[in-house]
């Protein structure tokens, strides 16, 4: 029997509802306040840039992950796709693959091909899921395992080193003093948040996550939308891969994007997106990633080792999801 309580909410469940909804933002504010008070040199442009720079690739990938999770799925392959795009692009612009005249043209082709490749691989994930109804966790596990192998095979596991401003602007340049990847990140977050709230595609993908049968019976092309969502996730992973290698001036297929799928999922979970699908918040994901990043920074800046930050991160994930669950069932 179900009881519909609209107004009969008691005070305590009201608090947990508030916590569930605004807990992430609140945590961010508390962390900021703490740092302003305690951490030396916190209130500087430098600190802001360091944190934003470090968080931007996670956020870019986590935006795609949010969309995937909103449809009730998951994408474990993002880290491997980053490795593929990170391996592919230098092979092209360093001329290892094909000789292309002119650096700018080569860079443009390289970036396009790299992102196009991961977009297609993402679509392949979506196709497995939509066409064969394979569980997302298994379907994307295929490319998680094979994807990094593909990147390693392509480069034979070798490090590709380069120094190429025409390409590395995406990770190193600072228009208006803001790191380029932060601008890219903010652009993607804004675009995705707008899309989720204001476009048919956004509402439809939420409907699929909320009730796939109902969505299909309402004439929504569930398969096509799923394929598109995984393709977007692949594209964003590819882009993030480019940012990472640009920052490092090198591409190592063994390392690019390693563990990224879990960082992205953690950001989504802490941000308040429902992991079973049907409810998603892009801004929440951004906040979630910022909270995780800031906790790590806070601990490091105050002399706590990185390893301890991992344990903290674990506690935050559990705490955040627990609060949301309570808010939902309250």
């Amino acid at each position: 029997m179900r009881w519909h309580t609209v107004s009969g909410m008691t005070d305590r469940s009201g608090v947990s509802l508030l916590l569930a909804r605004y807990g992430t933002a609140l945590a961010l504010v508390v962390l900021l306040a703490f740092n302003f008070a305690v951490t030396p040199n916190f209130a500087t442009w430098q600190t802001l840039n360091v944190n934003l720079t470090q968080v931007s690739t996670i956020v870019i990938v986590a935006v795609g992950m949010t969309l995937v999770i909103a449809t009730g799925g998951i994408d474990l392959s993002v880290g491997s796709l980053m490795a593929i795009s990170g391996a592919l692009a230098p092979m092209i612009f360093l001329g290892n693959l094909v000789g292309i005249g002119g650096i700018p043209v080569a860079v443009a082709v390289a970036m396009f091909v790299a992102v196009a490749a991961t977009t297609l691989l993402g679509a392949f994930n979506g196709w497995l899921i939509a066409r064969y109804r394979i569980q997302p966790i298994v379907a994307t596990l295929v490319l998680y395992i094979a994807g990094r192998g593909i990147a390693q095979v392509m480069t034979n596991g070798n490090l590709q080193v380069f120094k190429l401003p025409e390409f590395q602007w995406i990770g190193l340049s600072r228009p208006f003093g803001i790191p380029a990847q932060v601008i890219v990140m903010l652009f993607i977050v804004t675009l995705a948040a707008w899309m989720l709230a204001r476009t048919n595609f956004g509402r439809q993908l939420l409907a699929i996550g909320g009730n796939e049968r109902a969505a299909r019976l309402s004439g929504i092309a569930t398969g096509r939308i799923k394929i598109a969502v995984y393709a977007i996730s692949g594209a964003l992973a590819g882009l993030a891969g480019l940012v990472v290698i640009a920052i490092n001036s090198a591409s190592d297929a063994n390392l690019v994007g390693m563990g990224m799928e879990l960082d992205a999922i953690a950001a989504v979970a802490v941000g308040g997106t429902l992991l079973s699908g049907g409810r998603a918040t892009i801004i929440g994901t951004l906040l979630g990633a910022l909270v995780i990043q800031l906790v790590r920074y806070t601990l490091l800046a105050n002399g706590v080792p990185d390893a301890a930050a991992l344990v903290c991160k674990a506690a935050i994930i559990i705490g955040a999801v627990w609060l949301q669950e309570r808010g939902r069932t309250a």
Binding site: L128, V138, I145, G149, Q152, G157, V311, A314, E325
Partner: protein, 334 residues
Amino acid sequence: MRRKTNWGQMLASYGVVLALAALILFGSLRYENFLGSFNILSVLRYNSMFALISLGMCFVIMTGGIDLSVGSVAALGSVVAAYASPYGLLPGLAAGVAAGMLAGTLNGLIITRLKIMPFITTLAMMLAASGTALLLARNQSVAVSYATAFTELGQGNLLGLPVPALIGAFAYLVGSVVLNLTSSGRAVLAIGGSEDASRMMGLPVERITFLVYLASGGLAGLAGVILAAQFGAGQPIEGVGWELFAIAAVVVGGTLLTGGAGSVVTTLAGVLLLGVVFNILNFENGKGWISLSAYWQSVIRGLFLLAVVLLQAHLTHRVAGGPTVADTTDSLQP
């Protein structure tokens, strides 16, 4: 009514055993020393760690859950075991397993008490265990003591067989008995099939779920002990991606990720299949005809997983269109 043999189902369940046999046949025909005792024993020795975590994963998946923490829990176990190794074989073993069980206990408690999805819970535990391992080991490998018999757990032989393989075989024997011949084992499958129904049937859903994660943690800890003993050091950064290898092995072994059905024996076949792929790759390179880098192994493993998953999808769709209410009402004779 006689039950018709469902060949599709049989293929899904035991196809992996056939594939393994085919692969071994291929290897033995093509490579001279493939069936040599040295090769067989080293394959078994190396894969025993994966076999142990896959066994735990198999049970977890049969309840409809997942345990992403096994890799870093194994790393934690290896560090703890390395620290305890100067006190002897048994203390080292016990310490590593206990560390794993502690992680498993936390997983189990969070999943059953706080009702947080296994995926998230064990993802967090993956980070926490890894962080703890790094903290304990101060970001370095921890050398094990060679003064005690501890390293025998990884490097020793008993009756001509590698000790880790014997441990693995014993664990699978116990796992198989538990699954098929105890009520807890059947409860594992029932919970994975339908948690609500199991609860209504009065099965101790929470306790079984808890025990499954406890076992998975313990087995991961045991894998960590073998890791430390085999390579002579506790390795805090080892174990990355092991969880997904284990999931792949379980899936290749025909256990459904939705829970409710599965087999311990075919999981072992899944582990060995993925291991033999790597082994054959090495031999192929040794022949010098083609030079495939070791990186191909993950590509090939991925392709195996894809093939299995597509086959399963194909079969479940066929099954979904199989016998229905209308077709079987004739079995109801008033």
